[in-house]
C-alpha cells in the first residue's frame, strides 16, 4: 500500500513535470528581462570602443546605392530567439511591412522555437528550412557558435543567411549581421537623457543594471562612464553608484528603493535594462517619489507609457525592433536576389529607412555588419504611439 502511494506520488510528479514542459508560456514572459537589450555584441565589447564611424562612410560610392527590384520570388524565414517575446513580434511586423512593400511573390514565415528549446529548436528550424528549399533565413542567434554548422549547411544548400539582433560569434555560415546600435552610442544616449532630465546644472544619479556579469550591460555602463569622464558637456553629472537587480522585477524594485535610502541627494536612476527601468519607475511611483527621483534608461514603450505620461520616467530610449526587422528584410532580400553580394563598402537603399553601408564588424574577428542605429528617445510626445 505504502509502495503504491509512493509510486503514485512519483508518477504525479513526473507527469506534472512533463505537463509543465508542454506549457512553455511562463518562461517566455520572464525572458525579455535578460534579453531585452539583446547582447548584440557580447563577444568583444572592448573592440567596440574603436568603433566604426569612419568605416561607415569609408568608400565613396561611385555608382550610388543599390536599390531592390520588387516583385521577385524569395521564400524567407524570420527566426527569432524564441517565440512569445514582444520585441520579436515587432521585428516580424517590420519584416512583414518590407515584404509587402517589395511585393515578394514568395512567402515570409515567422518561425521560432519555444524558450526552453531555443538552441536545439533554432538548429532544427535552420536545417528544415534548407530541406524545404527556402531561399533565405534571418536569424536572431541564441545558440552561440553551436548554430554555425547548421547555418553553414544552409549556405551550402544555396540559402542566404543573415543574422540580426544577435550574430553568430565566429561569423561562420553568416553573410551579414544587421546590428541594432553601437555600444558607444548607448553611453552617450544615456548621458544625454540624464542631462535633459536633470537640466543644465546636472546632478547626481545612480545606475541600476541587470547582473554583474551581463556583457552588454557592462559595456554600456563602461561607455557611459567613458563619456562622463571625457566629455566636458557632461561634467555636471555625477555617477554615485552601480547596483544590480539581476533583471528580476522584485530585486530591481528593492534595489531602487535601497538607492533612495542610501543617497538622499540622488535625483535620477538610470537603468539600461527593460526590467530594471520598469521596476524602478514602479517603485518611485508606489512610494510617491516621482518628483524627487526620476527614472530613465532603456525601456519598452508598451511597458513604460504610463510612467512616462505621469512624469516618473520622462525620457527613455530603445531602438525600434520594427525598424530592425524591416532593415533585416531589405538586406536579406537584396542579398538573395543578387542586388548586393555582401562585400565591404557596398551601399544599398532600404526603403523608408534610407541608405546603408556594409562594413567590417568591428566587434568580432570575422564578419560583416550593417549598423542600423540610432536610438529612438521616447518622451511624452511619442511614447503613446510607440506603445501601440
Amino acid at each position: 500500500m505504502k509502495r503504491y502511494i509512493s509510486r503514485g506520488f512519483a508518477f504525479l510528479i513526473i507527469l506534472s513535470l512533463l505537463v509543465t514542459a508542454c506549457q512553455p508560456a511562463a518562461p517566455a514572459t520572464e525572458a525579455p528581462a535578460t534579453e531585452a537589450p539583446p547582447p548584440a555584441e557580447t563577444e568583444a565589447p572592448a573592440a567596440a570602443t574603436e568603433a566604426p564611424a569612419a568605416a561607415t562612410e569609408a568608400p565613396p560610392a561611385e555608382a550610388g546605392p543599390v536599390e531592390a527590384t520588387p516583385g521577385q520570388e524569395v521564400n524567407m524565414v524570420l527566426l527569432p530567439k524564441f517565440l512569445g517575446i514582444l520585441v520579436f513580434d515587432q521585428a516580424n511586423q517590420g519584416a512583414q511591412e518590407a515584404h509587402a512593400e517589395l511585393q515578394n511573390a514568395g512567402e515570409l514565415q515567422f518561425l521560432g522555437p519555444t524558450p526552453e528549446n531555443s538552441v536545439a529548436g533554432q538548429i532544427e528550424i535552420v536545417t528544415t528550412a534548407a530541406t524545404q528549399g527556402m531561399d533565405a533565413i534571418m536569424i536572431s542567434n541564441n545558440a552561440g557558435d553551436q548554430i554555425a554548422p547548421a547555418a553553414q549547411g544552409a549556405r551550402d544548400a544555396g540559402m542566404t543567411v543573415v543574422t540580426w539582433d544577435s550574430p553568430i560569434p565566429s561569423a561562420e555560415g553568416e553573410q551579414i549581421f544587421v546590428a541594432q546600435v553601437d555600444f558607444d552610442e548607448t553611453g552617450r544616449v544615456m548621458a544625454d537623457m540624464a542631462l535633459s532630465i536633470l537640466g543644465e546644472d546636472g546632478g547626481k544619479f545612480a545606475v541600476l543594471s541587470a547582473s554583474p556579469d551581463a556583457a552588454n550591460q557592462n559595456a554600456w555602463i563602461a561607455a557611459l562612464e567613458e563619456v562622463l569622464a571625457t566629455d566636458s558637456t557632461y561634467a555636471s553629472l555625477e555617477l554615485l553608484d552601480i547596483v544590480y537587480g539581476n533583471d528580476q522585477s522584485e530585486d530591481s524594485y528593492n534595489q531602487a528603493l535601497a538607492l533612495v535610502d542610501k543617497y538622499p541627494d540622488m535625483e535620477l536612476i538610470m537603468a539600461p535594462t527593460t526590467v530594471g527601468i520598469a521596476a524602478a519607475a514602479k517603485a518611485m511611483q508606489d512610494e510617491g517619489l516621482c518628483e524627487e527621483v526620476k527614472v530613465s534608461g532603456l525601456g519598452l514603450p508598451a511597458e513604460m507609457v504610463s510612467y512616462t505620461l505621469n512624469g516618473c520616467a520622462p525620457e527613455f530610449a530603445l531602438w525600434s525592433f520594427v525598424d530592425l526587422g524591416y532593415l533585416t528584410y531589405y538586406t536579406t532580400y537584396l542579398l538573395a536576389t543578387g542586388g548586393i553580394e555582401g562585400a565591404v563598402g557596398e551601399r544599398f537603399e532600404a526603403g523608408r529607412m534610407g541608405t546603408y553601408t556594409i562594413e567590417k564588424d568591428p566587434t568580432r574577428d570575422q564578419g560583416l555588419r550593417v549598423l542600423m542605429g540610432p536610438f529612438t528617445v521616447y518622451d511624452a510626445t511619442n511614447v503613446e504611439a510607440a506603445a501601440q
Binding site: 508518477f11 508542454c22 536545439a120 530541406t131 524545404q132 553551436q146 554548422p149 560569434p169
Partner: protein, 345 residues
C-alpha cells in the same frame, strides 16, 4: 494483487475484444506511425528525400540514443532524470579540456569516464543506500548541470579539430553519420539484452516486484548498478556526439532533454510503474515523435504548437491505458458480484 485480477477474464465479451486490441499499444502506435508518414509524404515533397530522413534522426539523435537506456531504467521501475545534465557535463568537460590544450582523444576518454563515475555515484545512492532514484537523479540533474556551468561559465568553446567536427556533421558510411550508426547498433544490442537475455528478464522481474525478485535470488542491487552506470555512460557518450554535431559547447548544452527522452519512453507504452514495455514500442514512439515533428516543421508549424501536439499525445498515452484498466476492473467486479446470483437463480 492487481496482477492476478488482470489475468482472470477470458476473451468472450465483445468489449473485451476491443480492449485486447487497444491493449496492444504497439499496434496502436504502428497505425499512428503510418498515418503520420502518409500525411507527411502527401503534404511535403521534401519529406521522403534521403537527406531529410537522415536529418530527422540527426536532429534528435542524442535524445533517442539515451531513450534506449531509459527504457531499461523505467521498466526497472526507476527513473534517471540526470541524463541530460550528464550530457552537458561530459560535453563541457570535453570543451574545457580542449581549451586547456589536452589532445581531443584524451578529452573524449575523460568525458566518457565522467559518465561512468557519475553513474557509479548515482547507483551508490540508489542501489546501495536505497534512496529513491527520483530524488537522487533530480539532485544530480541540478548537480551535474551546475558542474558543467562552473567549468565553462558563460563561454562557448569550439574550434575542435576538423576530424572531430566532421564525425558529428558529415556522413560516415553512405548517407549515415557516426551517431546514427551508433544508434542502430545500440538498438540491436538493447533488443537482444532486453527481450532475449537473462538480464533482460531480471529487469522486468525487478520492475514488477522488487521484493519478489530479491527473494527469488535476483541480484537486484547489481542489476540496478549496471543500469544506472550504463545510463550515465551512454548519456555522456551522447553528450560527446552532441558536441561533435554542434562543433561548439556551452554550459546549457542539452538543457531539458530529459523530459523529451522520458516522453519518448512513456509514449512507447513503457509503464511508469515498471514491469512492462518493450524496445519495439519505444522505437515506434521515437519514430512517431521524430516524423511528427519533422512533418510539422516542414509545414511551418511553430514550436509552441509542436510541443502542444506532443504533449497531448503523451497525456493520452498515460490516460488511455490507465482508464481502460479502471473500466475493466469495474466490469470485473460487477461480473463477480453478479456471478453467484446467476447460479442460484
Amino acid at each position: 494483487m492487481s496482477r492476478s485480477t488482470e489475468s482472470l477474464p477470458g476473451g468472450q465479451s465483445p468489449l473485451l475484444g476491443v480492449w485486447e486490441r487497444l491493449r496492444s499499444w504497439e499496434g496502436l502506435l504502428l497505425v499512428l506511425l503510418f498515418v503520420v508518414i502518409i500525411v507527411n509524404s502527401l503534404q511535403a515533397p521534401a519529406y521522403l528525400s534521403v537527406g531529410n530522413q537522415v536529418n530527422l534522426f540527426i536532429l534528435s539523435i542524442e535524445k533517442i540514443i539515451v531513450a534506449l537506456v531509459m527504457t531499461f531504467i523505467i521498466i526497472n521501475a526507476e527513473i534517471d532524470l540526470s541524463v541530460a545534465s550528464m550530457m552537458g557535463l561530459s560535453a563541457c568537460t570535453l570543451g574545457w579540456l580542449h581549451e586547456q590544450g589536452a589532445p581531443i582523444w584524451i578529452a573524449l576518454l575523460i568525458g566518457l569516464s565522467v559518465g561512468v563515475i557519475g553513474g557509479a555515484f548515482n547507483s551508490f545512492w540508489i542501489a546501495i543506500v536505497g534512496l529513491p532514484s527520483l530524488v537522487v537523479t533530480l539532485a544530480m540533474l541540478i548537480g551535474y548541470r551546475g558542474l558543467a556551468r562552473v567549468l565553462l561559465e558563460d563561454r562557448s568553446i569550439g574550434e575542435f579539430p576538423q576530424w572531430f567536427d566532421n564525425l558529428g556533421q558529415q556522413p560516415l558510411i553512405g548517407p549515415f553519420p557516426l551517431a546514427l550508426i551508433i544508434f542502430f547498433l545500440l538498438l540491436i544490442v538493447a533488443v537482444i539484452i532486453l527481450q532475449y537475455s537473462g538480464f533482460g528478464r531480471y529487469v522486468y522481474v525487478i520492475g514488477n516486484n522488487r521484493e519478489v525478485a530479491r527473494y527469488s535470488g535476483v541480484k537486484v542491487r547489481r542489476a540496478k548498478m549496471i543500469l544506472f552506470i550504463t545510463s550515465s555512460t551512454i548519456a555522456a557518450l551522447a553528450g560527446l556526439l552532441f558536441a561533435a554535431r554542434l562543433g561548439a559547447v556551452r554550459g546549457d548544452i542539452g538543457l531539458g532533454f530529459e523530459l523529451d527522452i522520458i516522453t519518448m519512453v512513456l509514449l512507447g507504452g513503457v509503464s511508469i510503474f515498471g514491469g512492462s514495455g518493450s524496445i519495439f514500442g519505444v522505437l515506434l514512439s521515437i519514430l512517431i515523435i521524430l516524423n511528427l515533428r519533422n512533418g510539422m516543421s516542414l509545414a511551418n508549424i511553430t514550436g509552441h504548437v509542436q510541443t502542444g501536439v506532443i504533449g497531448v499525445l503523451l497525456i493520452l498515452s498515460v490516460l488511455v491505458p490507465n482508464l481502460a484498466n479502471e473500466v475493466r476492473a469495474i466490469l470485473n467486479r460487477r461480473r463477480r458480484i453478479g456471478g453467484p446470483q446467476d447460479t442460484t437463480a
